[in-house]
Amino acid sequence: MIRVESVEKQFVGKNVLKNLSFSVPDGRITALLGANGAGKTTCLRIIAGLLKADSGKVSVGGLDVARYPIAVRRQLGIVGDREGLYERLTVKEYLTFFAGAQGIAGEALAQALESVRDVLELDSLWCRRTKGFSQGERMKVSLARALIHRPGHLILDEPTRGLDVLAARLLRKTLLQLRSQGTAILFSSHVMAEVAELSDSVLVMSKGAIVGNGAPEELMHLSGTDSLEESFVALAYGIKGTGHAEGALL
């Protein structure tokens, strides 16, 4: 489980995260929704231990991220909003490095490589250098990197951005499979249909704070709307009804 408790973060005197609290249970997919600049990426970076919270506590699998950042990273798989591929390495070399960085070697390494190769259908890319890969190919390799050490917790920042239909379908299939294996999954997205289809619960962030938390149906009920998108717009922007400023809900 990922637990975020009363986290605050400032950048140059501006409150980016305000008293942020939520949890991501094991075996569940939690979506993090928010407008650009709402603080989603900062929140995900704090969970990954890349940024330090000014106050509050974040734990992953019961481990305090601030105290045990290295141990936490062994339990986390992260697909950021930037793929971060090494263009001079082949897919195999790239994944071998990240497996090695997670301490996987020998027979376990061979098995881990074969597993992600099969699950994410990487055969045709396996011995190619990643330079010139399409967005979908980049995302697949990036996801393979996040899954190579079979983490118990997975964080994805806008994973379907720029993906074609087949790649998006493969991603969704993989996430559902991981959920069934007990992985705690937190992902941010702007695609409401995808959030509605995949997520067990939804967190809505606005201006650094959680303004809605619950199952998609609960949020629709809370905001008095009949679609998740309407519900998000109402909660995040205080606007009820698509494209019409009919009044603030919160």
Binding site: F11, V12, L51, K52, R74, G84, L89, G100, A101
Partner: protein, 396 residues
């Protein structure tokens, strides 16, 4: 405990392999390193060849412009270096333009004035903008002066006066400097060029693996891994320095293979590199390569972008060379043991000594290298701290 150690090493080797693949597959960095290791020794050798050529005593042409025949001068002026041509009519300027290096114009009444013990005049015309003219004029003046002295002695002897009265003393110049010291004056340039070569060779790789990785957005992914900051920086430093060190080794190999073929003795240089000295030079360059790599990476990490890093480091490349040349030209006594503990200066002094066949004090070399390696260790820790800066991720 052992399994933790083994995990740390396993992670480190995975990281080192990845960094080496990245560095050695970077065509731009490898190309720069190859060009550097070939170009810098070539420049040094070119400089030496030029110096030898300038130092060589080339022959030059003298027009002896005289209306009457002056057998005295005609017979005595010509020698191995001086081609004399007698011209009876003409303007000095035109003769200089037509291929003569110097024109010596003789007074019309030279022969009668000479016989009557008067002082006939000679006029030397030259083009001061010509290359090497000073040396030719000095040579001719010395030549004429020697001849003048012979004539004066003959006249004194003919009159029963001892010629020694014109020579109250005789100055003889004797050079007491050791051949190795004479060589060191010019060989100073070579270690500095080798050191500059390491700086240039490491440049592309160090920027690429720090500012470049940050700009390509892969640094954040790397920092998400369960790796300690010093592990990351050390692996990067080893990979980057490998390219600088190899460039240094090729530079040393190039120098020691080509220098024996050059006529260095003509410049008073005694060049002597023993077989032991060659691997020794390679070893001495290793800590220096590590220091150069880590220093460049630290600076590149502070830059805003790849281009910014390129510009800043490009300008800073020349600073160490200026320091080394400055110290060499100043009156600072670099043979004081203190300087052997100063990175760059120590290595420069050791390389210079090895090139001229001097022996090194092994304890001082080891101690000086350890100082350099300690500095590398310190920079690695500073680099590891720099990786924790939130600004590095563009977060603020």
């Amino acid at each position: 405990m052992n399994s933790v150690k083994s995990l740390v090493w396993q992670q480190f080797f995975a990281l080192l392999r990845k960094e080496c693949l990245e560095v050695w597959r970077d065509r731009r960095a490898v190309f720069t390193a190859i060009i550097t290791c070939l170009l810098l020794p070539a420049l040094t050798i070119g400089g030496i060849v030029y110096a030898i050529k300038n130092n060589a005593e080339d022959t030059f042409r003298l027009a002896l412009l005289s209306r009457e025949t002056v057998p005295l001068l005609e017979q005595r002026l010509a020698d191995a270096r001086l081609e004399v041509e007698i011209i009876q009519e003409g303007a000095a300027k035109e003769l200089l333009e037509n291929g003569f290096d110097l024109v010596l114009k003789v007074d019309d009444n030279f022969n009668s004035a000479f016989r009557n013990l008067l002082i006939p005049k000679l006029y030397l015309y030259m083009d001061s903008s010509s290359e090497g003219i000073r040396g030719q004029v000095t040579y001719l003046q010395r030549h004429l002066s020697g001849f003048q002295s012979v004539v004066a002695r003959q006249r004194l002897i003919a009159r029963g006066v001892a010629p020694q009265v014109l020579t109250p003393w005789q100055l003889e110049v004797r050079d007491v400097s050791a051949p190795s010291k004479r060589g060191a004056l010019l060989l100073t340039m070579m270690p500095s060029m080798l050191i500059l070569g390491i700086f240039v060779a490491c440049l592309g790789a160090s920027i690429d693996s720090s500012a470049g990785e940050r700009e390509r957005l892969s640094l954040e992914v790397l920092l998400q891994q369960p790796l300690a900051g010093p592990q990351i920086v050390l692996a990067k430093v080893l990979a980057v320095s490998s390219i600088g060190w190899l460039s240094g080794l090729v530079g040393v190999a190039g120098l020691v293979s080509v220098l024996p073929l050059l006529p260095l003795s003509e410049l008073g240089i005694q060049y002597s590199v023993s077989l032991v000295a060659i691997p020794m030079m390679g070893l001495l360059l290793l800590p220096l390569s590590l220091l150069v790599a880590v220093a460049q990476m630290l600076l590149a990490l502070r830059s805003q972008s790849f281009k910014d890093a390129q510009m800043q480091l490009g300008l800073l490349q020349i600073v160490p060379l200026l320091i080394l040349f400055g110290l060499d030209m100043s009156k600072v006594d670099l043979e004081v043991p203190f300087w052997q503990f100063v990175p760059l200066v120590g290595q420069q002094q050791w390389l210079k000594a090895l090139l001229v066949g001097e022996t090194l004090s092994l304890p001082l070399v080891i101690a000086g290298s350890l100082v350099t390696l300690s500095l590398v260790g310190l920079c690695i820790l500073v680099g590891a701290r720099a990786l924790q800066r939130e600004r590095l991720l563009g977060a603020t």
